[in-house]
Protein backbone atom coordinates (compact mmCIF):
# COMPACT_ATOMS: atom_id res chain seq x y z
CA UNK A 1 0.00 0.00 0.00
CA UNK A 2 1.42 3.32 -1.01
CA UNK A 3 0.53 5.52 1.92
CA UNK A 4 0.39 9.14 0.86
CA UNK A 5 0.67 11.05 4.11
CA UNK A 6 2.78 14.12 3.60
CA UNK A 7 3.01 14.28 -0.18
CA UNK A 8 0.44 15.64 -2.61
CA UNK A 9 -1.00 13.79 -5.58
CA UNK A 10 -0.55 15.93 -8.68
CA UNK A 11 -3.36 15.22 -11.13
CA UNK A 12 -2.79 17.88 -13.79
CA UNK A 13 -0.59 20.79 -14.78
CA UNK A 14 -1.82 24.27 -15.60
CA UNK A 15 1.28 25.66 -17.27
CA UNK A 16 4.05 25.63 -14.65
CA UNK A 17 1.62 25.25 -11.73
CA UNK A 18 0.83 21.70 -10.61
CA UNK A 19 -2.83 21.05 -9.75
CA UNK A 20 -3.03 18.74 -6.74
CA UNK A 21 -5.98 16.66 -5.62
CA UNK A 22 -6.22 18.82 -2.50
CA UNK A 23 -6.75 21.94 -4.60
CA UNK A 24 -9.59 20.27 -6.51
CA UNK A 25 -11.33 18.89 -3.41
CA UNK A 26 -11.05 22.15 -1.47
CA UNK A 27 -12.41 24.05 -4.48
CA UNK A 28 -15.34 21.60 -4.62
CA UNK A 29 -16.03 22.11 -0.90
CA UNK A 30 -15.82 25.89 -1.24
CA UNK A 31 -18.13 25.99 -4.27
CA UNK A 32 -20.67 23.72 -2.57
CA UNK A 33 -20.63 25.86 0.57
CA UNK A 34 -20.93 29.11 -1.38
CA UNK A 35 -23.90 27.80 -3.33
CA UNK A 36 -25.61 26.47 -0.18
CA UNK A 37 -24.97 29.78 1.57
CA UNK A 38 -26.27 31.80 -1.36
CA UNK A 39 -29.39 29.62 -1.52
CA UNK A 40 -30.03 30.03 2.22
CA UNK A 41 -29.48 33.79 2.05
CA UNK A 42 -31.86 34.16 -0.89
CA UNK A 43 -34.48 32.05 0.85
CA UNK A 44 -34.15 34.13 4.02
CA UNK A 45 -34.49 37.36 2.02
CA UNK A 46 -37.26 36.39 -0.41
CA UNK A 47 -39.35 33.78 1.44
CA UNK A 48 -39.06 34.58 5.15
CA UNK A 49 -41.82 32.10 6.07
CA UNK A 50 -40.30 29.03 4.41
CA UNK A 51 -38.50 26.15 6.13
CA UNK A 52 -35.26 26.98 4.34
CA UNK A 53 -35.30 30.48 5.79
CA UNK A 54 -35.88 29.04 9.27
CA UNK A 55 -32.92 26.70 8.77
CA UNK A 56 -30.78 29.65 7.69
CA UNK A 57 -31.79 31.69 10.74
CA UNK A 58 -31.19 28.74 13.09
CA UNK A 59 -27.73 28.10 11.65
CA UNK A 60 -26.84 31.78 11.83
CA UNK A 61 -28.07 32.09 15.41
CA UNK A 62 -26.20 28.98 16.60
CA UNK A 63 -22.95 30.09 14.96
CA UNK A 64 -23.26 33.61 16.33
CA UNK A 65 -23.85 32.24 19.85
CA UNK A 66 -20.69 30.15 19.58
CA UNK A 67 -18.69 33.16 18.39
CA UNK A 68 -20.04 35.43 21.14
CA UNK A 69 -19.36 32.81 23.82
CA UNK A 70 -15.80 32.18 22.64
CA UNK A 71 -14.58 35.64 21.65
CA UNK A 72 -16.60 37.74 24.07
CA UNK A 73 -17.57 40.27 21.39
CA UNK A 74 -20.30 40.56 18.81
CA UNK A 75 -18.16 41.45 15.82
CA UNK A 76 -19.22 40.87 12.22
CA UNK A 77 -15.69 40.22 10.90
CA UNK A 78 -14.91 37.65 13.61
CA UNK A 79 -18.25 35.92 13.04
CA UNK A 80 -17.65 35.74 9.29
CA UNK A 81 -14.16 34.27 9.67
CA UNK A 82 -15.32 31.76 12.28
CA UNK A 83 -18.36 30.64 10.32
CA UNK A 84 -16.30 30.21 7.15
CA UNK A 85 -13.68 28.15 8.97
CA UNK A 86 -16.29 25.95 10.65
CA UNK A 87 -18.22 25.36 7.43
CA UNK A 88 -15.11 24.58 5.41
CA UNK A 89 -13.63 22.11 7.89
CA UNK A 90 -16.96 20.36 8.46
CA UNK A 91 -17.61 20.23 4.73
CA UNK A 92 -14.22 18.70 4.00
CA UNK A 93 -14.71 16.12 6.76
CA UNK A 94 -18.01 15.17 5.13
CA UNK A 95 -16.43 15.06 1.66
CA UNK A 96 -13.68 12.80 2.98
CA UNK A 97 -16.26 10.10 3.74
CA UNK A 98 -16.77 9.51 0.02
CA UNK A 99 -14.71 6.54 -1.21
CA UNK A 100 -11.40 7.37 -2.81
CA UNK A 101 -11.45 11.03 -1.81
CA UNK A 102 -8.92 12.36 0.66
CA UNK A 103 -10.39 15.23 2.67
CA UNK A 104 -8.60 18.51 1.88
CA UNK A 105 -7.95 19.06 5.60
CA UNK A 106 -5.90 15.81 5.67
CA UNK A 107 -3.19 17.66 3.76
CA UNK A 108 -0.67 19.69 5.74
CA UNK A 109 -0.67 22.38 3.04
CA UNK A 110 -4.40 23.06 3.39
CA UNK A 111 -4.38 23.15 7.19
CA UNK A 112 -1.33 25.40 7.17
CA UNK A 113 -3.20 27.74 4.84
CA UNK A 114 -6.16 27.83 7.25
CA UNK A 115 -3.84 28.49 10.19
CA UNK A 116 -2.09 31.27 8.25
CA UNK A 117 -5.50 32.85 7.60
CA UNK A 118 -6.04 33.00 11.37
CA UNK A 119 -2.45 34.20 11.92
CA UNK A 120 -2.96 37.10 9.49
CA UNK A 121 -6.52 37.87 10.57
CA UNK A 122 -5.47 38.52 14.18
CA UNK A 123 -3.33 41.63 13.52
CA UNK A 124 -5.60 42.85 10.70
CA UNK A 125 -8.73 42.73 12.85
CA UNK A 126 -6.89 44.07 15.88
CA UNK A 127 -5.42 47.05 14.02
CA UNK A 128 -8.65 47.79 12.18
CA UNK A 129 -10.80 47.79 15.31
CA UNK A 130 -8.46 49.28 17.91
CA UNK A 131 -5.82 51.20 15.98
CA UNK A 132 -2.16 50.38 15.50
CA UNK A 133 -0.92 51.91 18.75
CA UNK A 134 -3.43 50.18 21.03
CA UNK A 135 -2.86 46.86 19.26
CA UNK A 136 0.92 47.02 19.51
CA UNK A 137 0.71 48.02 23.16
CA UNK A 138 -0.78 44.58 23.86
CA UNK A 139 2.60 43.03 23.08
CA UNK A 140 4.28 44.96 25.89
CA UNK A 141 1.81 44.03 28.58
CA UNK A 142 2.06 43.34 31.46
CA UNK A 143 5.79 44.07 31.05
CA UNK A 144 8.05 44.80 28.05
CA UNK A 145 9.99 41.62 28.88
CA UNK A 146 6.98 39.64 27.62
CA UNK A 147 7.20 40.93 24.03
CA UNK A 148 9.34 38.04 22.68
CA UNK A 149 7.11 35.56 24.48
CA UNK A 150 4.03 37.06 22.80
CA UNK A 151 5.73 36.74 19.41
CA UNK A 152 6.72 33.12 20.04
CA UNK A 153 3.20 32.28 21.19
CA UNK A 154 1.72 33.76 18.00
CA UNK A 155 3.90 31.48 15.88
CA UNK A 156 3.61 28.36 18.02
CA UNK A 157 -0.16 28.55 18.28
CA UNK A 158 -0.40 28.88 14.49
CA UNK A 159 1.76 25.77 14.14
CA UNK A 160 -0.36 23.94 16.71
CA UNK A 161 -3.58 24.86 14.88
CA UNK A 162 -2.24 23.51 11.60
CA UNK A 163 -0.71 20.30 12.97
CA UNK A 164 -3.68 19.49 15.22
CA UNK A 165 -6.21 19.64 12.39
CA UNK A 166 -3.89 17.85 9.95
CA UNK A 167 -3.04 15.08 12.41
CA UNK A 168 -6.63 14.39 13.40
CA UNK A 169 -8.02 14.32 9.87
CA UNK A 170 -5.07 12.42 8.42
CA UNK A 171 -5.02 9.80 11.19
CA UNK A 172 -8.75 9.12 10.81
CA UNK A 173 -8.35 8.75 7.06
CA UNK A 174 -5.30 6.51 7.50
CA UNK A 175 -7.08 4.20 9.95
CA UNK A 176 -9.99 3.78 7.52
CA UNK A 177 -7.58 3.14 4.64
CA UNK A 178 -5.65 0.53 6.66
CA UNK A 179 -8.86 -1.26 7.66
CA UNK A 180 -10.12 -1.31 4.08
CA UNK A 181 -6.80 -2.78 2.97
CA UNK A 182 -6.67 -5.36 5.78
CA UNK A 183 -10.22 -6.32 6.69
CA UNK A 184 -12.66 -5.62 3.90
CA UNK A 185 -15.69 -3.70 2.88
CA UNK A 186 -18.02 -2.99 5.81
CA UNK A 187 -15.58 -3.30 8.73
CA UNK A 188 -14.42 0.36 8.75
CA UNK A 189 -17.95 1.82 8.89
CA UNK A 190 -17.95 2.48 12.68
CA UNK A 191 -14.52 4.07 12.40
CA UNK A 192 -15.77 6.24 9.55
CA UNK A 193 -18.57 7.43 11.82
CA UNK A 194 -15.98 8.20 14.49
CA UNK A 195 -13.90 10.00 11.87
CA UNK A 196 -16.88 12.16 10.94
CA UNK A 197 -17.54 12.97 14.62
CA UNK A 198 -13.88 13.90 15.10
CA UNK A 199 -14.02 16.05 11.98
CA UNK A 200 -16.95 18.08 13.30
CA UNK A 201 -15.32 18.28 16.75
CA UNK A 202 -12.04 19.52 15.27
CA UNK A 203 -13.92 22.08 13.19
CA UNK A 204 -15.59 23.31 16.39
CA UNK A 205 -12.25 23.48 18.21
CA UNK A 206 -10.52 25.27 15.34
CA UNK A 207 -13.37 27.79 15.27
CA UNK A 208 -13.35 28.26 19.05
CA UNK A 209 -9.58 28.80 19.11
CA UNK A 210 -9.72 31.24 16.19
CA UNK A 211 -12.47 33.14 18.03
CA UNK A 212 -10.42 33.22 21.23
CA UNK A 213 -7.36 34.57 19.40
CA UNK A 214 -9.39 37.16 17.49
CA UNK A 215 -11.27 38.15 20.63
CA UNK A 216 -7.97 38.64 22.45
CA UNK A 217 -6.77 40.87 19.60
CA UNK A 218 -9.99 42.89 19.92
CA UNK A 219 -9.32 43.29 23.62
CA UNK A 220 -12.60 41.73 24.67
CA UNK A 221 -13.14 41.05 28.35
CA UNK A 222 -10.16 43.08 29.48
CA UNK A 223 -12.00 45.31 31.90
CA UNK A 224 -10.00 43.90 34.82
Amino acid sequence: MNAQIFGERVIAHAGPIPITATMVTSAVVSLALVSVGAGLARAAALRPESGTASAARLAHGALEQVVVDASGTRDAAVAAIAAALFAFITGSAALGQLPGIRPPTASIAATSALAVVVFLAVPIVGVARRGLRAYLREYFRPNPIFAPLHLVSEISRTLALAVRLFGNMMSGHLVVALLVALAGLLVPVPLMALDLLIGVLQAYIFTILACVYLGAALGAGEST
Binding site: A3, V163, R164, G167, I198, L201
Partner: protein, 84 residues
Amino acid sequence: MTEHAWIAIASIVMAGLTMAVGAIGAALGESRIASSAMDAVARQPEAQGPITRNQFVALAMVESTAIFCLVVALILLFANPFAR
Protein backbone atom coordinates in the same frame (compact mmCIF):
# COMPACT_ATOMS: atom_id res chain seq x y z
CA MET B 1 25.17 -3.16 8.90
CA THR B 2 25.22 -0.21 6.59
CA GLU B 3 24.53 3.34 7.67
CA HIS B 4 21.13 3.16 5.97
CA ALA B 5 20.10 0.12 8.00
CA TRP B 6 21.06 1.84 11.25
CA ILE B 7 18.98 4.88 10.34
CA ALA B 8 16.03 2.60 9.53
CA ILE B 9 16.34 0.74 12.84
CA ALA B 10 16.63 3.95 14.82
CA SER B 11 13.62 5.48 13.01
CA ILE B 12 11.40 2.45 13.61
CA VAL B 13 12.35 2.14 17.28
CA MET B 14 11.91 5.84 17.90
CA ALA B 15 8.56 5.92 16.08
CA GLY B 16 7.23 3.20 18.37
CA LEU B 17 8.71 4.89 21.43
CA THR B 18 7.25 8.27 20.40
CA MET B 19 3.77 6.82 20.15
CA ALA B 20 4.10 4.84 23.40
CA VAL B 21 5.38 7.70 25.57
CA GLY B 22 3.15 10.25 23.88
CA ALA B 23 0.06 8.15 24.45
CA ILE B 24 0.78 7.84 28.19
CA GLY B 25 0.55 11.56 28.81
CA ALA B 26 -2.56 12.06 26.70
CA ALA B 27 -4.28 9.06 28.31
CA LEU B 28 -3.58 10.30 31.84
CA GLY B 29 -4.73 13.82 30.98
CA GLU B 30 -7.90 12.67 29.24
CA SER B 31 -8.81 10.35 32.10
CA ARG B 32 -8.48 13.23 34.55
CA ILE B 33 -10.72 15.40 32.36
CA ALA B 34 -13.32 12.63 32.10
CA SER B 35 -13.33 11.94 35.85
CA SER B 36 -13.65 15.65 36.68
CA ALA B 37 -16.50 16.03 34.19
CA MET B 38 -18.29 13.03 35.70
CA ASP B 39 -17.81 14.49 39.18
CA ALA B 40 -19.29 17.77 37.99
CA VAL B 41 -22.26 16.06 36.32
CA ALA B 42 -22.91 13.97 39.44
CA ARG B 43 -22.92 17.11 41.55
CA GLN B 44 -24.95 19.24 39.14
CA PRO B 45 -26.94 17.06 36.73
CA GLU B 46 -28.79 20.08 35.33
CA ALA B 47 -25.51 21.47 33.92
CA GLN B 48 -24.80 18.36 31.87
CA GLY B 49 -25.08 20.11 28.50
CA PRO B 50 -22.38 22.78 28.92
CA ILE B 51 -20.16 20.41 30.90
CA THR B 52 -20.26 17.79 28.15
CA ARG B 53 -19.53 20.41 25.49
CA ASN B 54 -16.55 21.83 27.35
CA GLN B 55 -15.39 18.31 28.17
CA PHE B 56 -15.26 17.41 24.50
CA VAL B 57 -13.32 20.56 23.67
CA ALA B 58 -10.83 19.88 26.46
CA LEU B 59 -10.52 16.24 25.42
CA ALA B 60 -9.77 17.17 21.83
CA MET B 61 -7.19 19.75 22.89
CA VAL B 62 -5.42 17.26 25.17
CA GLU B 63 -5.61 14.64 22.48
CA SER B 64 -3.75 16.93 20.12
CA THR B 65 -0.55 16.22 22.08
CA ALA B 66 -0.92 12.54 21.18
CA ILE B 67 -1.71 13.58 17.63
CA PHE B 68 1.52 15.61 17.51
CA CYS B 69 3.36 12.47 18.58
CA LEU B 70 1.57 10.51 15.85
CA VAL B 71 2.63 13.09 13.25
CA VAL B 72 6.24 12.90 14.44
CA ALA B 73 6.14 9.10 14.32
CA LEU B 74 4.72 9.17 10.79
CA ILE B 75 7.38 11.66 9.72
CA LEU B 76 10.02 9.25 11.06
CA LEU B 77 8.46 6.35 9.17
CA PHE B 78 7.33 7.84 5.86
CA ALA B 79 9.02 11.21 5.38
CA ASN B 80 12.33 10.78 7.18
CA PRO B 81 14.75 13.40 5.81
CA PHE B 82 17.80 11.26 6.74
CA ALA B 83 16.66 8.01 5.11
CA ARG B 84 17.21 8.68 1.42
